[in-house]
């Protein structure tokens, strides 16, 4: 069985399309056989893709979308252009911002981390099999601390290697086995570090550009 990889540029920018990628790849066989033979997941043409390779592909879409949103939308409008808007209640000009409370405040963008999480929730709801999350050893929301051993080891590994390579581990949760892949989440724009360094609930206030701030954790059922 030969697997055709979907054109990733087609799905670029559409978070829900991740579901389609995963469903296709899973359907074409992330089997135990393929995992056993996957000595070099990035290059070895195997019948069926190893889960590590699937995770890499999913992550490439996530990272691309996330970087584009952070740099070309939030950072550009808020930091570089410093766009001003008129508050409809006070009729006064105010700075256009990204805000945690974007849903209930006028004229606010979702934070990049929220954008990412909303996509993750939609993918979870779509029940395509894989899940992903953005975790950190220094989260603003403490629910995003690492919980499992694999999450903890993965975040430490990608922080130690500066994001050069991902971490893969296997774990059993709720009676099911998963491949858990962890990818470094790097501060790609000043919007990232300014928000985290200034936030009252952040446990760390000295992030710098290109720091590993946390990790993207992708779980694929085995």
């Amino acid at each position: 069985m030969k697997t055709t990889i979907p054109n990733l540029s087609y799905v670029f920018g559409r978070t829900l399309a991740l579901s389609a990628v995963a469903a296709t790849l899973t359907a074409f066989g992330c089997t135990k056989d393929s995992q056993a033979k996957a000595a070099s997941p990035a290059t070895d043409p195997q019948p069926g893709l190893p889960p590590e390779r699937v995770a890499d592909m999913l992550h490439s879409v996530m990272e691309a979308d996330r970087t584009v949103y952070t740099r070309n939308v939030v950072n550009r409008l808020v930091k570089e252009q410093q766009v001003q808007i008129v508050n409809p209640d006070t009729k006064e000009q105010e700075a256009f911002k990204a805000s945690e409370q974007w849903k209930t405040e006028h004229g606010k963008l979702p934070l990049p981390a929220q954008m990412f999480r909303m996509g993750a929730e939609r993918v979870t709801d779509a029940k395509v099999g894989f899940t992903y999350a953005l975790l950190s050893k220094w989260p603003i929301n403490k629910q995003n601390n690492p919980k499992t051993d694999v999450e903890t080891k993965g975040l430490e590994a990608v922080a130690a290697n500066g994001g050069d390579k991902p971490f893969y581990g296997k774990e059993e949760l709720g009676g099911k086995k998963y491949l858990t892949a962890v990818y470094a989440d790097v501060a790609v724009a000043s919007a990232c570090i300014d928000c985290h360094n200034d936030h009252k609930d952040s446990p760390k206030h000295d992030f710098e550009l290109d720091d590993v701030m946390g990790g993207v954790v992708i779980r694929i059922p085995l």
Binding site: P88, T104, D125, K127, E151, G174, K176
Partner: protein, 438 residues
């Protein structure tokens, strides 16, 4: 003994068969239904699917949209994530029915919640480490004192409180957004009495035509045939509909009718049942109102469509509980009367509808009226954003809503309850300022 069991079983089976055949569904109710659902308790298939019980899809078909709008703090996806598998062993919040059960009043509290009041502990036992203000607080008080809500925290979360921490009890200009009422057709005069197009064979009372001519419908050039003949030929007496129902109204007023059908007043109609009558209600109602069938026209005086009547008189014509009876003597009611007399600016008065049918910002900045009067009712903190904050400071509003006696008196007086959440936020801001000081 065996014979007695056989006779009882046979009798019960015979009764249920008889009830089924006569469509007497009440015979199959296993117990008292919750306040939220009892109006549709005989529409069994609204919730139950054959051989599947109550599916998650059944709950979501009515409640998914409001949870989305409420920015649900505990969406289902939080619990279907494998990293929270250990949590669903303690509280399986993947399904609504884990916490909300029907027909079991002995087990359930408000909104059919069966979980013990300290269930937050399962996932937030270390909250004291994260927030020193919460160290040592009992877990059975998280939701009881007006601080947190499992689903809807839009008016309770810390950022919101921080933004409103120093507000006075009454705002400087306490008033509501104004509604755009009638929409006159550009360059066309309102319809006059002589313009009405009821077929000649249909007798229409003069008072009815006068009511219509003074209404927003005539302003907007909506004629008799638009409702009574659904816009078809105005000469066809056979097709004349003497009592257009909510579906006719919905052809123009889609959002209000959608809200009406989602609340207690209209949920029976939404299920294809007979309309609700106040006599079917569990809340105290005026005896003379018991047989009124509720439709749009019950509150909006048909043909006149008087919004002042719909805002107070229509409500008090049926509702007869302490809160309703206390309204007329309340300061809110005094403001409403003053507004009608032109003594205070428009939007200053507080009617029943002001709080129970709030004005909501629709797309493009237009305000519309939420016609689901249950939408912000339980827990009552839901009113803070949509209603109270138009006029009051948030701290005052939280206290007032937490004071059940004050609610009973229709807010005539000051709160005797104080919810500490806003104090905690104030202390946190002060601590942060100290730590940041050079």
């Amino acid at each position: 003994m065996f014979l007695a069991a056989v006779i009882m079983s046979t009798t019960l089976a015979g009764y249920l068969a008889w009830a089924w055949q006569r469509d007497e569904r009440s015979a199959f109710l296993p117990g008292t239904t919750t306040h939220g659902h009892y109006q549709i308790e005989l529409a069994c298939d609204a919730c139950h699917s054959p051989f599947e019980g109550v599916t998650q899809e059944a709950c979501e078909s009515c409640h998914a949209e409001e949870l989305e709008l409420a920015d649900d703090s505990h969406p289902r996806s939080k619990f279907t994530d494998p990293r929270n598998a250990d949590r669903i062993e303690r509280v399986d919040a993947r399904a609504c029915v884990t916490c909300h059960v029907e027909h079991r009043p002995a087990l359930a509290g408000l909104m059919g919640v069966t979980q013990p009041s300290d269930y937050c502990f399962h996932c937030h036992s270390d909250i004291g480490d994260e927030r020193p203000t919460h160290a040592g607080l009992p877990f059975d008080g998280c939701q009881a004192v007006g601080c947190h809500n499992f689903h809807d925290n839009r008016a309770l979360h810390e950022d919101f409180l921080e933004k409103h921490v120093d507000e006075p009890w009454l705002r400087r200009e306490p008033r509501l957004a104004l509604l755009r009422t009638s929409r006159p057709v550009p360059d066309r005069d309102p319809l006059q009495v002589a313009d009405h197009d009821a077929p000649s064979g249909i007798r229409v009372a003069e008072a009815t035509i006068d009511d219509w001519q003074r209404s927003a419908h005539a302003d907007a050039r909506v004629n008799c045939s638009d409702c009574h003949l659904a816009g078809e030929s105005a000469d066809d007496e056979e097709d004349w509909n003497p009592a257009p129902d909510h579906e006719v109204c919905a052809s123009c007023h889609e959002r209000p009718v959608k809200g009406f059908l989602a609340g207690h007043h209209g949920m029976r109609l939404a299920q294809g049942m007979e309309p609700m009558r106040p006599g079917d209600a569990r809340l105290p109602m005026r005896p003379e109102a018991g047989d009124r069938a509720l439709d749009c026209g019950s509150c909006h005086t048909v043909h006149a469509y008087d919004r002042e009547v719909a805002a107070v008189d229509a409500c008090l014509g049926c509702h007869d509980d302490d809160h309703s009876r206390a309204y007329t003597a309340s300061s809110h009611a005094q403001l409403f009367r003053s507004e009608l007399l032109g003594e205070v600016p428009e939007g200053t008065g507080v009617s029943c509808a002001t709080c129970h049918m709030p004005r909501e910002k629709a797309p493009r900045g237009v305000f519309t009226v939420q016609h689901n009067q249950n939408d912000n009712l339980r827990p009552n903190e839901k009113m803070i954003r949509s209603v109270c904050q138009n006029c009051h400071g948030i701290g005052f509003a939280i206290d007032a809503l937490a004071d059940s006696e004050l609610v009973g008196r229709n807010f005539d007086g000051l709160p005797s309850v104080h919810v500490e959440s806003i104090d905690m936020v104030r202390r946190k801001i002060a601590a942060a300022n100290v730590s940041r000081a050079p």
